[in-house]
Amino acid sequence: MGRTYNIIKYLCLLAWATFVVFPFLWALSTSFKDANAVTSGARYIPWVEFEPSVQGWTSLFASGSQGINIVQPFFNSASVTLLASIVSLGLGTLAAYGLSRFSYKAGFVKNSDITFFFISQRIMPPIVLAIPFFLMLKEIQALDTIFGLVIVYVALLLPIAVWVMTDFFASIPKELDEMAMIDGCTPIGAFFRVVLPNSTAGLVVAGMFCLIFGWNDFFFAFILTFTETQLLPVAIVSLNSSVTPWWSLSAFALISVTPLALIAIVVERFMSRGSLAGAFR
Protein backbone atom coordinates (compact mmCIF):
# COMPACT_ATOMS: atom_id res chain seq x y z
CA MET A 1 0.00 0.00 0.00
CA GLY A 2 2.60 2.52 1.17
CA ARG A 3 4.84 1.44 -1.66
CA THR A 4 2.26 1.93 -4.39
CA TYR A 5 1.55 5.32 -2.92
CA ASN A 6 5.22 6.23 -3.04
CA ILE A 7 5.57 5.10 -6.63
CA ILE A 8 2.55 7.13 -7.70
CA LYS A 9 3.84 10.10 -5.75
CA TYR A 10 7.22 10.00 -7.46
CA LEU A 11 5.67 9.51 -10.88
CA CYS A 12 3.54 12.60 -10.36
CA LEU A 13 6.54 14.59 -9.14
CA LEU A 14 8.54 13.43 -12.11
CA ALA A 15 5.81 14.51 -14.51
CA TRP A 16 5.58 17.90 -12.86
CA ALA A 17 9.35 18.35 -12.81
CA THR A 18 9.56 17.52 -16.52
CA PHE A 19 6.82 20.01 -17.22
CA VAL A 20 8.66 22.74 -15.32
CA VAL A 21 12.15 21.97 -16.56
CA PHE A 22 11.24 21.34 -20.18
CA PRO A 23 11.39 24.97 -21.39
CA PHE A 24 14.88 25.19 -19.90
CA LEU A 25 15.95 22.00 -21.61
CA TRP A 26 14.56 23.25 -24.86
CA ALA A 27 16.36 26.56 -24.52
CA LEU A 28 19.55 24.73 -23.64
CA SER A 29 19.40 22.47 -26.70
CA THR A 30 18.34 25.33 -28.99
CA SER A 31 21.30 27.42 -27.86
CA PHE A 32 23.59 24.79 -29.36
CA LYS A 33 21.77 24.53 -32.70
CA ASP A 34 22.42 26.30 -35.94
CA ALA A 35 19.85 27.75 -38.33
CA ASN A 36 19.39 24.44 -40.05
CA ALA A 37 18.70 22.47 -36.91
CA VAL A 38 16.22 25.06 -35.64
CA THR A 39 14.07 25.29 -38.72
CA SER A 40 13.93 21.67 -39.75
CA GLY A 41 11.48 20.31 -37.20
CA ALA A 42 11.78 19.26 -33.56
CA ARG A 43 15.12 17.75 -32.66
CA TYR A 44 16.29 16.95 -29.15
CA ILE A 45 19.39 14.84 -28.97
CA PRO A 46 22.72 16.48 -29.85
CA TRP A 47 25.13 14.60 -32.13
CA VAL A 48 22.34 12.17 -33.05
CA GLU A 49 19.60 14.48 -34.30
CA PHE A 50 21.67 17.63 -34.90
CA GLU A 51 25.28 18.71 -34.90
CA PRO A 52 25.91 21.05 -31.90
CA SER A 53 27.45 24.46 -32.50
CA VAL A 54 28.60 27.06 -29.94
CA GLN A 55 27.79 29.96 -32.20
CA GLY A 56 24.80 30.94 -30.08
CA TRP A 57 27.06 31.41 -27.05
CA THR A 58 30.08 32.96 -28.71
CA SER A 59 27.97 35.58 -30.45
CA LEU A 60 27.04 36.96 -27.02
CA PHE A 61 30.65 37.68 -26.16
CA ALA A 62 31.79 38.79 -29.58
CA SER A 63 32.10 42.32 -30.81
CA GLY A 64 31.28 44.15 -34.03
CA SER A 65 29.21 42.43 -36.66
CA GLN A 66 29.71 38.95 -35.16
CA GLY A 67 27.04 39.68 -32.58
CA ILE A 68 26.94 41.76 -29.41
CA ASN A 69 28.86 41.73 -26.20
CA ILE A 70 26.60 41.25 -23.22
CA VAL A 71 29.26 41.45 -20.49
CA GLN A 72 28.86 45.20 -20.01
CA PRO A 73 25.02 45.12 -20.13
CA PHE A 74 25.09 42.25 -17.63
CA PHE A 75 27.07 44.30 -15.13
CA ASN A 76 24.96 47.37 -15.83
CA SER A 77 21.82 45.41 -15.11
CA ALA A 78 23.33 43.89 -11.98
CA SER A 79 24.45 47.26 -10.61
CA VAL A 80 21.16 49.01 -11.32
CA THR A 81 19.09 46.17 -9.87
CA LEU A 82 21.24 45.74 -6.80
CA LEU A 83 21.56 49.44 -6.00
CA ALA A 84 17.87 50.12 -6.57
CA SER A 85 16.88 47.08 -4.50
CA ILE A 86 19.11 48.06 -1.60
CA VAL A 87 17.85 51.63 -1.56
CA SER A 88 14.22 50.53 -1.91
CA LEU A 89 14.55 47.93 0.79
CA GLY A 90 16.19 50.40 3.17
CA LEU A 91 13.73 53.22 2.65
CA GLY A 92 10.78 50.87 2.27
CA THR A 93 11.53 49.05 5.53
CA LEU A 94 11.72 52.30 7.47
CA ALA A 95 8.51 53.61 5.90
CA ALA A 96 6.72 50.33 6.53
CA TYR A 97 7.80 50.27 10.17
CA GLY A 98 6.49 53.78 10.64
CA LEU A 99 3.22 52.87 8.97
CA SER A 100 2.79 49.74 11.06
CA ARG A 101 3.59 51.25 14.46
CA PHE A 102 2.44 54.87 14.43
CA SER A 103 -0.81 56.53 13.42
CA TYR A 104 -0.47 59.40 11.01
CA LYS A 105 -3.21 61.84 10.22
CA ALA A 106 -3.18 64.75 7.82
CA GLY A 107 -6.69 65.90 7.07
CA PHE A 108 -8.54 62.84 5.86
CA VAL A 109 -5.30 61.00 5.02
CA LYS A 110 -4.59 58.11 7.37
CA ASN A 111 -2.13 55.22 7.45
CA SER A 112 -4.16 53.01 5.13
CA ASP A 113 -4.39 55.83 2.59
CA ILE A 114 -0.63 56.28 2.65
CA THR A 115 -0.09 52.55 2.13
CA PHE A 116 -2.59 52.62 -0.72
CA PHE A 117 -0.81 55.59 -2.25
CA PHE A 118 2.37 53.52 -2.38
CA ILE A 119 0.65 50.51 -3.91
CA SER A 120 -1.29 52.64 -6.39
CA GLN A 121 2.03 53.50 -8.03
CA ARG A 122 2.08 49.95 -9.30
CA ILE A 123 -1.53 49.96 -10.45
CA MET A 124 -0.89 52.72 -12.98
CA PRO A 125 0.16 51.48 -16.43
CA PRO A 126 3.90 52.16 -16.79
CA ILE A 127 3.40 54.04 -20.06
CA VAL A 128 1.82 56.87 -18.06
CA LEU A 129 5.10 57.33 -16.22
CA ALA A 130 7.40 57.02 -19.19
CA ILE A 131 7.23 60.57 -20.51
CA PRO A 132 7.43 62.31 -17.12
CA PHE A 133 10.42 60.14 -16.21
CA PHE A 134 12.06 60.92 -19.52
CA LEU A 135 11.60 64.67 -19.09
CA MET A 136 12.74 64.66 -15.48
CA LEU A 137 15.87 62.62 -16.17
CA LYS A 138 16.63 64.88 -19.11
CA GLU A 139 16.35 67.89 -16.81
CA ILE A 140 18.95 66.51 -14.41
CA GLN A 141 21.02 65.08 -17.27
CA ALA A 142 20.62 61.57 -15.99
CA LEU A 143 19.29 60.01 -19.17
CA ASP A 144 21.29 57.01 -20.28
CA THR A 145 23.14 56.75 -16.96
CA ILE A 146 23.15 54.14 -14.21
CA PHE A 147 22.31 56.85 -11.71
CA GLY A 148 19.18 57.87 -13.61
CA LEU A 149 18.02 54.29 -13.92
CA VAL A 150 18.57 53.65 -10.23
CA ILE A 151 16.36 56.62 -9.36
CA VAL A 152 13.58 55.36 -11.63
CA TYR A 153 13.88 51.80 -10.40
CA VAL A 154 13.74 52.93 -6.77
CA ALA A 155 10.45 54.63 -7.61
CA LEU A 156 9.23 51.36 -9.10
CA LEU A 157 10.50 49.02 -6.39
CA LEU A 158 9.76 51.13 -3.32
CA PRO A 159 6.01 50.39 -3.41
CA ILE A 160 6.73 46.67 -3.44
CA ALA A 161 9.11 46.92 -0.51
CA VAL A 162 6.69 49.09 1.48
CA TRP A 163 3.81 46.76 0.74
CA VAL A 164 5.58 43.54 1.69
CA MET A 165 7.22 45.00 4.78
CA THR A 166 4.06 46.71 6.07
CA ASP A 167 2.33 43.38 5.91
CA PHE A 168 5.26 41.71 7.59
CA PHE A 169 5.59 44.21 10.44
CA ALA A 170 1.86 43.95 11.04
CA SER A 171 2.45 40.27 11.80
CA ILE A 172 5.06 41.07 14.46
CA PRO A 173 3.21 41.71 17.71
CA LYS A 174 3.71 45.25 18.93
CA GLU A 175 4.46 43.77 22.34
CA LEU A 176 7.90 42.97 20.97
CA ASP A 177 8.71 46.66 20.49
CA GLU A 178 7.07 47.51 23.80
CA MET A 179 9.13 44.87 25.56
CA ALA A 180 12.30 46.28 24.03
CA MET A 181 11.39 49.74 25.29
CA ILE A 182 10.67 48.37 28.77
CA ASP A 183 14.07 46.71 28.61
CA GLY A 184 15.62 50.09 27.99
CA CYS A 185 15.76 50.70 24.23
CA THR A 186 14.69 53.93 22.61
CA PRO A 187 11.95 53.51 19.98
CA ILE A 188 14.63 53.57 17.26
CA GLY A 189 16.80 51.20 19.27
CA ALA A 190 13.82 48.84 19.57
CA PHE A 191 13.56 48.81 15.78
CA PHE A 192 17.22 48.16 15.10
CA ARG A 193 18.07 45.89 18.02
CA VAL A 194 14.92 43.80 18.25
CA VAL A 195 12.45 44.17 15.38
CA LEU A 196 14.90 44.17 12.50
CA PRO A 197 16.77 41.01 13.57
CA ASN A 198 13.36 39.36 13.72
CA SER A 199 12.48 40.46 10.21
CA THR A 200 14.85 38.40 8.07
CA ALA A 201 11.94 36.53 6.49
CA GLY A 202 10.20 39.70 5.39
CA LEU A 203 13.41 41.31 4.18
CA VAL A 204 14.27 38.23 2.12
CA VAL A 205 10.84 38.15 0.49
CA ALA A 206 10.79 41.88 -0.22
CA GLY A 207 14.37 41.73 -1.48
CA MET A 208 13.50 38.86 -3.82
CA PHE A 209 10.59 40.79 -5.30
CA CYS A 210 12.76 43.87 -5.79
CA LEU A 211 15.50 41.87 -7.51
CA ILE A 212 13.07 40.04 -9.77
CA PHE A 213 11.12 43.12 -10.86
CA GLY A 214 14.26 45.19 -11.24
CA TRP A 215 16.16 42.56 -13.19
CA ASN A 216 13.29 41.79 -15.54
CA ASP A 217 12.24 45.35 -16.37
CA PHE A 218 12.52 46.10 -20.06
CA PHE A 219 10.21 49.02 -20.58
CA PHE A 220 11.99 51.77 -18.65
CA ALA A 221 15.43 50.51 -19.49
CA PHE A 222 14.42 50.70 -23.15
CA ILE A 223 13.00 54.21 -22.98
CA LEU A 224 15.51 55.89 -20.70
CA THR A 225 18.77 54.63 -22.18
CA PHE A 226 20.30 54.84 -25.66
CA THR A 227 23.81 53.57 -26.19
CA GLU A 228 25.95 54.35 -23.18
CA THR A 229 24.15 52.40 -20.51
CA GLN A 230 22.53 49.35 -21.97
CA LEU A 231 20.80 46.91 -19.68
CA LEU A 232 20.56 43.23 -20.39
CA PRO A 233 16.93 43.04 -21.61
CA VAL A 234 17.60 45.91 -24.01
CA ALA A 235 20.88 44.53 -25.29
CA ILE A 236 19.22 41.41 -26.57
CA VAL A 237 16.88 43.37 -28.79
CA SER A 238 19.82 44.55 -30.83
CA LEU A 239 20.59 40.89 -31.56
CA ASN A 240 17.48 40.66 -33.67
CA SER A 241 17.97 40.91 -37.41
CA SER A 242 16.20 39.68 -40.54
CA VAL A 243 16.82 36.10 -39.42
CA THR A 244 15.85 35.62 -35.80
CA PRO A 245 18.93 34.13 -34.08
CA TRP A 246 17.08 31.62 -31.90
CA TRP A 247 20.36 30.08 -30.71
CA SER A 248 21.67 33.40 -29.36
CA LEU A 249 18.30 34.27 -27.87
CA SER A 250 18.22 30.94 -26.05
CA ALA A 251 21.72 31.34 -24.72
CA PHE A 252 20.84 34.84 -23.65
CA ALA A 253 17.67 33.67 -21.91
CA LEU A 254 19.65 31.11 -19.95
CA ILE A 255 22.27 33.65 -18.93
CA SER A 256 19.74 36.21 -17.81
CA VAL A 257 17.72 33.74 -15.78
CA THR A 258 20.77 32.31 -14.01
CA PRO A 259 21.28 35.02 -11.35
CA LEU A 260 17.63 34.84 -10.29
CA ALA A 261 17.74 31.05 -10.23
CA LEU A 262 20.86 31.12 -8.07
CA ILE A 263 19.24 33.55 -5.65
CA ALA A 264 16.14 31.37 -5.51
CA ILE A 265 18.24 28.31 -4.64
CA VAL A 266 20.14 30.14 -1.91
CA VAL A 267 16.97 31.56 -0.41
CA GLU A 268 15.27 28.19 -0.53
CA ARG A 269 18.19 26.60 1.34
CA PHE A 270 18.13 29.40 3.85
CA MET A 271 14.39 29.12 4.41
CA SER A 272 14.36 25.36 4.78
CA ARG A 273 16.99 25.59 7.50
CA GLY A 274 14.11 26.89 9.55
CA SER A 275 15.87 30.08 10.53
CA LEU A 276 12.95 31.99 9.12
CA ALA A 277 10.24 30.14 10.97
CA GLY A 278 9.20 33.20 12.92
CA ALA A 279 7.70 32.05 16.18
CA PHE A 280 7.27 35.19 18.18
CA ARG A 281 5.29 33.72 20.99
Binding site: M181, G278, R281
Partner: protein
Protein backbone atom coordinates in the same frame (compact mmCIF):
# COMPACT_ATOMS: atom_id res chain seq x y z
CA UNK B 1 12.06 51.73 43.86
CA UNK B 2 9.47 54.37 44.13
CA UNK B 3 6.09 55.31 45.44
CA UNK B 4 3.78 55.58 42.46
CA UNK B 5 0.98 58.12 42.59
CA UNK B 6 -1.87 58.38 40.13
CA UNK B 7 -3.24 61.92 40.23
CA UNK B 8 -6.62 62.22 38.50
CA UNK B 9 -5.14 59.83 36.01
CA UNK B 10 -7.46 58.64 33.28
CA UNK B 11 -7.30 57.46 29.72
CA UNK B 12 -9.58 57.33 26.73
CA UNK B 13 -8.59 55.62 23.51
CA UNK B 14 -10.84 58.08 21.65
CA UNK B 15 -9.17 61.31 20.58
CA UNK B 16 -12.15 63.38 21.76
CA UNK B 17 -13.94 61.52 24.55
CA UNK B 18 -17.52 62.71 24.77
CA UNK B 19 -18.67 61.14 28.00
CA UNK B 20 -17.31 59.13 30.86
CA UNK B 21 -18.34 56.03 28.88
CA UNK B 22 -15.52 56.72 26.45
CA UNK B 23 -12.85 56.31 29.12
CA UNK B 24 -11.14 52.91 29.29
CA UNK B 25 -9.70 54.12 32.60
CA UNK B 26 -11.84 56.68 34.42
CA UNK B 27 -9.83 59.38 36.21
CA UNK B 28 -8.62 57.99 39.52
CA UNK B 29 -6.47 58.95 42.49
CA UNK B 30 -4.43 56.07 43.78
CA UNK B 31 -1.12 55.51 45.57
CA UNK B 32 1.01 52.41 45.15
CA UNK B 33 3.23 52.46 48.21
CA UNK B 34 6.89 51.61 47.91
CA UNK B 35 7.83 48.03 48.66
CA UNK B 36 4.37 46.48 48.86
CA UNK B 37 2.86 43.75 46.76
CA UNK B 38 -0.38 44.67 45.03
CA UNK B 39 -2.91 42.75 43.03
CA UNK B 40 -5.02 44.53 40.45
CA UNK B 41 -8.15 42.46 40.14
CA UNK B 42 -11.06 42.79 37.78
CA UNK B 43 -12.92 41.18 34.92
CA UNK B 44 -11.42 41.16 31.47
CA UNK B 45 -11.67 44.49 29.64
CA UNK B 46 -11.96 46.62 32.77
CA UNK B 47 -8.82 48.64 32.08
CA UNK B 48 -6.12 46.78 34.00
CA UNK B 49 -3.67 46.59 31.12
CA UNK B 50 -4.42 50.21 30.26
CA UNK B 51 -3.43 51.26 33.78
CA UNK B 52 -0.20 49.25 33.72
CA UNK B 53 0.78 50.56 30.29
CA UNK B 54 0.29 54.11 31.54
CA UNK B 55 2.49 53.44 34.56
CA UNK B 56 5.22 51.93 32.41
CA UNK B 57 4.93 54.69 29.83
CA UNK B 58 3.86 52.58 26.87
CA UNK B 59 0.69 54.65 26.83
CA UNK B 60 0.41 58.38 27.39
CA UNK B 61 -2.60 59.14 29.58
CA UNK B 62 -5.20 61.50 28.14
CA UNK B 63 -5.89 62.97 31.58
CA UNK B 64 -4.01 63.59 34.80
CA UNK B 65 -0.51 63.01 36.09
CA UNK B 66 1.71 60.17 37.16
CA UNK B 67 4.22 60.75 39.94
CA UNK B 68 7.16 58.60 41.04
CA UNK B 69 8.22 59.64 44.56
CA UNK B 70 6.47 62.95 43.97
CA UNK B 71 8.28 63.66 40.68
CA UNK B 72 6.05 64.12 37.65
CA UNK B 73 6.99 61.43 35.11
CA UNK B 74 3.93 61.76 32.87
CA UNK B 75 6.06 62.83 29.92
CA UNK B 76 9.06 60.62 30.61
CA UNK B 77 9.84 57.77 28.23
CA UNK B 78 9.47 54.14 29.15
CA UNK B 79 13.19 53.53 29.52
CA UNK B 80 13.66 56.63 31.69
CA UNK B 81 11.05 55.36 34.12
CA UNK B 82 13.06 52.18 34.70
CA UNK B 83 10.04 49.96 35.10
CA UNK B 84 9.93 46.21 34.60
CA UNK B 85 6.83 44.80 32.97
CA UNK B 86 5.86 41.26 32.06
CA UNK B 87 3.04 40.74 29.56
CA UNK B 88 0.29 38.15 29.60
CA UNK B 89 1.78 36.19 26.71
CA UNK B 90 5.48 35.45 26.48
CA UNK B 91 7.45 37.96 24.48
CA UNK B 92 10.93 36.73 23.73
CA UNK B 93 13.64 37.79 21.38
CA UNK B 94 13.55 34.81 19.03
CA UNK B 95 16.92 35.51 17.49
CA UNK B 96 18.74 35.47 20.83
CA UNK B 97 19.73 32.70 23.21
CA UNK B 98 18.09 32.37 26.60
CA UNK B 99 21.16 33.97 28.19
CA UNK B 100 21.12 36.96 25.83
CA UNK B 101 17.38 37.31 26.40
CA UNK B 102 17.96 37.60 30.12
CA UNK B 103 20.93 39.94 29.82
CA UNK B 104 19.38 42.23 27.21
CA UNK B 105 17.74 44.67 29.67
CA UNK B 106 21.09 45.06 31.41
CA UNK B 107 23.04 45.46 28.15
CA UNK B 108 20.62 48.16 27.07
CA UNK B 109 21.43 50.01 30.24
CA UNK B 110 25.17 49.54 29.88
CA UNK B 111 25.73 47.52 33.00
CA UNK B 112 29.18 46.18 33.78
CA UNK B 113 29.58 42.75 32.03
CA UNK B 114 30.66 41.06 35.27
CA UNK B 115 27.60 42.33 37.09
CA UNK B 116 25.44 41.23 34.15
CA UNK B 117 26.61 37.63 34.23
CA UNK B 118 26.16 37.56 38.00
CA UNK B 119 22.58 38.76 37.79
CA UNK B 120 21.76 36.44 34.89
CA UNK B 121 23.11 33.51 36.88
CA UNK B 122 21.04 34.43 39.94
CA UNK B 123 17.81 34.93 38.04
CA UNK B 124 18.19 31.84 35.87
CA UNK B 125 18.87 29.71 38.90
CA UNK B 126 15.83 31.06 40.66
CA UNK B 127 13.60 30.34 37.64
CA UNK B 128 15.30 26.99 36.98
CA UNK B 129 16.46 28.11 33.56
CA UNK B 130 20.15 27.55 34.30
CA UNK B 131 20.58 24.36 32.28
CA UNK B 132 19.04 25.79 29.09
CA UNK B 133 20.84 29.15 29.16
CA UNK B 134 22.59 28.59 25.85
CA UNK B 135 19.61 27.26 23.90
CA UNK B 136 18.04 29.48 21.25
CA UNK B 137 15.03 30.97 22.97
CA UNK B 138 12.65 30.18 20.12
CA UNK B 139 13.01 26.43 20.73
CA UNK B 140 11.40 26.52 24.16
CA UNK B 141 7.90 25.62 25.24
CA UNK B 142 5.33 28.32 25.99
CA UNK B 143 5.77 28.21 29.74
CA UNK B 144 9.56 28.24 29.52
CA UNK B 145 9.26 31.27 27.26
CA UNK B 146 7.10 32.94 29.84
CA UNK B 147 9.72 32.19 32.48
CA UNK B 148 12.21 34.04 30.28
CA UNK B 149 9.85 37.01 30.06
CA UNK B 150 9.54 36.89 33.82
CA UNK B 151 13.31 36.60 34.18
CA UNK B 152 13.84 39.67 32.02
CA UNK B 153 11.42 41.50 34.30
CA UNK B 154 13.31 40.48 37.43
CA UNK B 155 16.90 40.72 36.24
CA UNK B 156 17.28 44.41 36.99
CA UNK B 157 17.42 44.94 40.73
CA UNK B 158 17.05 48.74 40.63
CA UNK B 159 13.64 49.08 39.00
CA UNK B 160 10.94 51.47 40.22
CA UNK B 161 8.39 48.67 40.20
CA UNK B 162 7.69 45.30 38.64
CA UNK B 163 4.40 45.22 36.73
CA UNK B 164 3.07 41.74 36.04
CA UNK B 165 0.18 41.62 33.58
CA UNK B 166 -1.42 38.21 34.14
CA UNK B 167 1.97 36.57 33.63
CA UNK B 168 0.99 33.22 35.07
CA UNK B 169 -1.90 32.42 32.69
CA UNK B 170 0.13 30.11 30.48
CA UNK B 171 2.02 28.44 33.30
CA UNK B 172 0.87 25.17 34.79
CA UNK B 173 -0.77 25.29 38.25
CA UNK B 174 2.04 23.63 40.21
CA UNK B 175 4.63 26.04 38.86
CA UNK B 176 2.21 28.95 39.29
CA UNK B 177 2.06 28.33 43.00
CA UNK B 178 5.82 28.23 43.47
CA UNK B 179 6.38 31.25 41.21
CA UNK B 180 3.91 33.29 43.20
CA UNK B 181 5.81 32.37 46.34
CA UNK B 182 9.12 33.28 44.72
CA UNK B 183 7.80 36.64 43.61
CA UNK B 184 6.77 37.38 47.18
CA UNK B 185 10.17 36.27 48.40
CA UNK B 186 11.88 38.64 45.99
CA UNK B 187 9.63 41.41 47.19
CA UNK B 188 10.52 40.69 50.82
CA UNK B 189 14.25 40.54 50.09
CA UNK B 190 14.61 43.50 47.77
CA UNK B 191 11.63 45.65 48.71
CA UNK B 192 10.63 46.04 45.08
CA UNK B 193 7.07 47.19 44.55
CA UNK B 194 5.12 44.59 42.61
CA UNK B 195 1.78 44.98 40.89
CA UNK B 196 0.23 41.72 39.73
CA UNK B 197 -2.71 41.97 37.37
CA UNK B 198 -5.04 39.03 37.54
CA UNK B 199 -8.66 38.05 37.21
CA UNK B 200 -8.20 35.18 39.62
CA UNK B 201 -9.21 36.23 43.11
CA UNK B 202 -7.38 33.47 44.91
CA UNK B 203 -4.17 34.46 43.13
CA UNK B 204 -4.77 38.07 44.13
CA UNK B 205 -5.55 37.24 47.75
CA UNK B 206 -2.58 34.94 48.23
CA UNK B 207 -0.06 37.22 46.57
CA UNK B 208 -0.87 40.73 47.59
CA UNK B 209 -0.54 42.92 50.65
CA UNK B 210 -3.26 45.01 49.08
CA UNK B 211 -5.84 44.24 46.44
CA UNK B 212 -7.30 46.83 44.08
CA UNK B 213 -10.60 45.82 42.50
CA UNK B 214 -11.61 47.42 39.20
CA UNK B 215 -14.70 47.31 37.03
CA UNK B 216 -15.54 49.16 33.81
CA UNK B 217 -12.49 51.39 34.07
CA UNK B 218 -13.26 52.44 37.61
CA UNK B 219 -11.46 51.48 40.80
CA UNK B 220 -14.11 49.95 43.07
CA UNK B 221 -12.19 49.36 46.25
CA UNK B 222 -8.67 48.85 47.46
CA UNK B 223 -7.59 47.32 50.69
CA UNK B 224 -6.14 44.31 52.43
CA UNK B 225 -7.62 40.98 51.26
CA UNK B 226 -9.53 40.43 54.49
CA UNK B 227 -11.01 43.93 54.32
CA UNK B 228 -12.37 43.21 50.87
CA UNK B 229 -13.78 39.97 52.13
CA UNK B 230 -15.32 41.25 55.36
CA UNK B 231 -16.49 44.66 54.20
CA UNK B 232 -16.93 44.88 50.42
CA UNK B 233 -17.78 48.49 49.66
CA UNK B 234 -20.34 47.56 47.06
CA UNK B 235 -22.19 44.54 45.77
CA UNK B 236 -19.77 44.16 42.82
CA UNK B 237 -16.83 43.65 45.15
CA UNK B 238 -19.02 41.30 47.17
CA UNK B 239 -19.70 39.28 44.07
CA UNK B 240 -16.17 39.39 42.73
CA UNK B 241 -14.32 38.55 45.93
CA UNK B 242 -15.18 35.33 47.70
CA UNK B 243 -16.32 32.06 46.28
CA UNK B 244 -19.20 31.52 45.95
CA UNK B 245 -20.17 35.21 45.72
CA UNK B 246 -22.01 37.06 48.43
CA UNK B 247 -25.74 36.28 48.94
CA UNK B 248 -28.07 39.24 48.54
CA UNK B 249 -31.50 39.25 50.20
CA UNK B 250 -34.48 41.56 49.92
CA UNK B 251 -35.52 43.41 53.07
CA UNK B 252 -38.69 45.09 54.33
CA UNK B 253 -38.34 48.45 55.98
CA UNK B 254 -40.20 48.73 59.31
CA UNK B 255 -39.64 52.27 60.57
CA UNK B 256 -35.94 52.54 61.26
CA UNK B 257 -35.50 48.77 61.36
CA UNK B 258 -35.12 46.14 58.68
CA UNK B 259 -36.59 42.68 58.40
CA UNK B 260 -35.27 39.96 56.16
CA UNK B 261 -38.07 37.48 55.51
CA UNK B 262 -35.89 34.88 53.78
CA UNK B 263 -33.71 34.34 56.85
CA UNK B 264 -36.42 35.28 59.37
CA UNK B 265 -34.20 38.11 60.63
CA UNK B 266 -35.98 40.98 62.32
CA UNK B 267 -34.90 44.16 63.96
CA UNK B 268 -31.76 44.80 61.91
CA UNK B 269 -30.46 48.34 62.42
CA UNK B 270 -31.23 50.41 59.40
CA UNK B 271 -28.86 53.28 59.98
CA UNK B 272 -29.58 56.85 58.99
CA UNK B 273 -30.32 56.30 55.35
CA UNK B 274 -32.19 58.29 52.80
CA UNK B 275 -34.45 56.70 50.22
CA UNK B 276 -32.98 54.01 48.00
CA UNK B 277 -33.27 50.31 47.31
CA UNK B 278 -31.99 48.33 50.27
CA UNK B 279 -30.55 44.85 50.28
CA UNK B 280 -28.55 42.86 52.75
CA UNK B 281 -25.54 40.83 51.83
CA UNK B 282 -24.25 37.79 53.70
CA UNK B 283 -21.21 35.73 52.78
CA UNK B 284 -21.99 32.02 52.22
CA UNK B 285 -19.12 31.38 54.65
CA UNK B 286 -20.97 33.26 57.40
CA UNK B 287 -24.22 31.31 57.22
CA UNK B 288 -24.52 28.32 59.52
CA UNK B 289 -26.81 25.35 59.56
CA UNK B 290 -28.84 24.86 62.69
CA UNK B 291 -31.69 22.72 63.87
CA UNK B 292 -34.92 23.40 61.94
CA UNK B 293 -36.89 23.14 65.18
CA UNK B 294 -35.40 26.33 66.62
CA UNK B 295 -36.74 29.75 65.75
CA UNK B 296 -34.40 30.07 62.77
CA UNK B 297 -35.32 30.30 59.12
CA UNK B 298 -35.92 27.05 57.31
CA UNK B 299 -34.78 26.48 53.74
CA UNK B 300 -34.93 23.57 51.37
CA UNK B 301 -31.79 22.01 49.89
CA UNK B 302 -31.79 22.30 46.10
CA UNK B 303 -28.28 21.08 45.36
CA UNK B 304 -25.13 20.15 47.19
CA UNK B 305 -21.68 20.41 45.68
CA UNK B 306 -18.71 18.77 47.34
CA UNK B 307 -15.39 20.62 47.10
CA UNK B 308 -13.42 18.08 49.08
CA UNK B 309 -13.17 19.80 52.43
CA UNK B 310 -16.02 22.29 51.99
CA UNK B 311 -19.50 21.85 50.62
CA UNK B 312 -21.49 24.46 48.73
CA UNK B 313 -25.17 23.99 49.47
CA UNK B 314 -27.77 25.77 47.35
CA UNK B 315 -30.97 26.46 49.22
CA UNK B 316 -34.38 27.97 48.60
CA UNK B 317 -35.86 30.03 51.40
CA UNK B 318 -39.53 29.81 52.42
CA UNK B 319 -40.26 33.00 50.43
CA UNK B 320 -38.60 31.57 47.31
CA UNK B 321 -35.26 33.44 47.44
CA UNK B 322 -32.21 31.37 46.48
CA UNK B 323 -28.91 31.49 48.34
CA UNK B 324 -25.80 29.46 49.05
CA UNK B 325 -24.08 28.26 52.17
CA UNK B 326 -20.49 27.14 52.45
CA UNK B 327 -20.21 24.54 55.15
CA UNK B 328 -17.41 22.41 56.53
CA UNK B 329 -19.68 20.24 58.69
CA UNK B 330 -19.66 16.55 57.85
CA UNK B 331 -23.37 16.02 58.41
CA UNK B 332 -25.41 14.26 55.75
CA UNK B 333 -27.29 16.65 53.45
CA UNK B 334 -30.04 15.30 51.19
CA UNK B 335 -31.48 17.22 48.29
CA UNK B 336 -35.08 18.12 49.15
CA UNK B 337 -34.50 18.07 52.89
CA UNK B 338 -35.13 21.09 55.11
CA UNK B 339 -32.40 22.78 57.14
CA UNK B 340 -32.36 25.62 59.61
CA UNK B 341 -30.09 28.55 58.74
CA UNK B 342 -28.66 31.18 61.06
CA UNK B 343 -26.26 34.09 60.91
CA UNK B 344 -24.53 36.37 63.38
CA UNK B 345 -25.78 39.98 63.20
CA UNK B 346 -22.24 41.30 62.80
CA UNK B 347 -21.91 39.44 59.49
CA UNK B 348 -24.93 41.14 57.94
CA UNK B 349 -23.97 43.91 55.49
CA UNK B 350 -26.55 46.47 54.42
CA UNK B 351 -26.28 47.83 50.88
CA UNK B 352 -28.17 50.87 49.66
CA UNK B 353 -28.40 51.08 45.86
CA UNK B 354 -25.57 48.57 45.75
CA UNK B 355 -23.25 50.53 48.07
CA UNK B 356 -22.30 49.45 51.57
CA UNK B 357 -23.79 51.69 54.24
Amino acid sequence: MAEITLKNLGHSYFPQPKSEEDYALKPVNLVWEDGKTYALLGPSGCGKTTMLNIISGLLHPSDGQLLFDGRDVTNKTTSERNIAQVFQFPVIYTTKSVRRNLSFPLECRDWDPKKISGRVAEVSEMLELDDILDMPARRLSADQKQLISLGRGLVRDDVSAVLLDEPLTVIDPQMKFSLRRKLREINRQTGTTMILVTHDQSEAMSFADEVVVMKDGRVQQSGRPEQLFERPENTFVGYFIGSPPINLFNVDVKGDRLNCPALALTDLPRGDLGPGALQIGIRPDHLNFSDPSESNAVAMVEACENLGIDRIVSLRAANGELFKVKSRLRQKIDVGSKLGVSVAHKDVLVFQDGVLT
